[in-house]
Symmetry: C2
Subunit: 232 residues, 2 copies
């Protein structure tokens, strides 16, 4: 059996690498939302010509990290409450359904999730925020992959770029961090016990809680950018 997929990441090797650089820069907070991105600057900064930069910008724009109009500098997409809200509504729909499916179907392999949960708890104790974000993503991505639905895996991989961005912008929230991995464990437990309805509900609650928390925190600290939208 050969898997014909496994493709996906790069294409224009250089363009993809440039895109990854810019993506990280946006995630990291350099390149704040709303800031304009000049092709030549990036090219010089990364030591490549403008060509791969253009491809990278196109790619990132497809991912929704950049907005662009013809003949204008691209600018980093803003993160607003609407985005967070929409993102988590989608997640709630997808994940509660998917988790139910996993519970109904035999052969769910719990082990990798147990490992992730253990690692997650460790990261919570050590207050390792970046690791927590990565592990959270790994956990949920693991669920998508367990379902064996390529479409969902791909779609959600695209959305996790934004989810990570939101998480990185909001950061900490110590109280909530505790709960996350309990909820994860509850979900896995319900799936393992083949309790579909219960798993579904647990997943839905998990996402709704995250959404509520993020919206609360984000609402308090409005986007650290957005230079007063000119009402011209």
């Amino acid at each position: 059996m050969q898997l014909q997929t496994l493709n996906r990441i790069p294409v224009d090797v250089l363009g993809a690498r440039v895109a990854q650089e810019i993506r990280s820069a946006i995630l990291r907070g350099d390149l704040p939302p709303g800031s304009r991105v000049k092709q030549e600057d990036l090219a010089a900064q990364l030591g490549v010509s403008r060509e791969p930069v253009r491809q990278a910008l196109l790619l990132l724009q497809g991912e929704g990290l950049l907005h662009a109009q013809p003949n204008r500098s691209a600018q980093v997409a803003a993160v607003d409450r609407q985005l967070i809200s929409g993102l988590y509504e989608l997640r709630e729909a997808v994940e509660s359904s998917l988790v139910g499916t996993l519970a109904r179907r035999p052969g769910f392999d719990v082990k990798p999730f147990r490992i992730l949960i253990a690692r997650g708890r460790t990261a919570v104790r050590q207050r390792d925020l970046p690791a927590l974000i990565d592990l959270d993503m790994s956990f949920h991505t693991g669920l998508y992959e367990a379902a064996g639905n390529r479409v969902i895996v791909e779609v959600m991989r695209g959305q996790w770029i934004h989810i990570r961005r939101v998480m990185a912008m909001v950061l900490d929230q110590a109280a909530y961090r505790q709960k996350i991995w309990d909820e994860h464990e509850a979900i896995v437990h319900a799936i393992h016990a083949r309790r579909a309805a219960s798993a579904s509900v647990a997943a839905g609650r998990h996402i709704r809680a995250a959404r509520k928390m993020l919206l609360a925190v984000f609402g308090a600290a409005p986007t650290p950018c957005c230079p007063s939208p000119t009402t011209s």
Copy 2:
């Protein structure tokens, strides 16, 4: 009030147009799945240089219509049962949830949907397949937009490219066409009557029925291409 969106379609005007051309060609069935796509050919054929073609290919690859490895001609993505199945699982999760939300929330505007249903029934009578596909998409897209969730609108817009492709490949199925618009009407009716659970179930059933039908038809007629995957 200014709307900052409205962006979205083009970027590199020419590249976007080229992408649209190729997209149509794939939809139409020229460029069958698995066929290789040479940049220079397309450029010559469309009377542009290779540059916008490269951007278009990048775009289409992002959409999942093309696969590419570095230094190799891109090839048109295959349509297999896995894709159809995954696509409709996603739709079921998203749409049944979304329809429930719409029903719970006041202010749903039925009119545009009634119009679409009427037009759909007309198209059924006239056996106008392309129109049916367009109207089906308009109906569901209308639901996404009614929910006011930008993320879902965007994600599903990306997926409808594939859905349309599948529909175009499978084509007719006279018996089923009748039912579609009855089911659409039932969904709209349930939303309008604020019966969330009922709307949700109706939407789920609608998608599952479509999925079953497509898989059955598609399974019978295996993809009209795929030159025996070389097991080198």
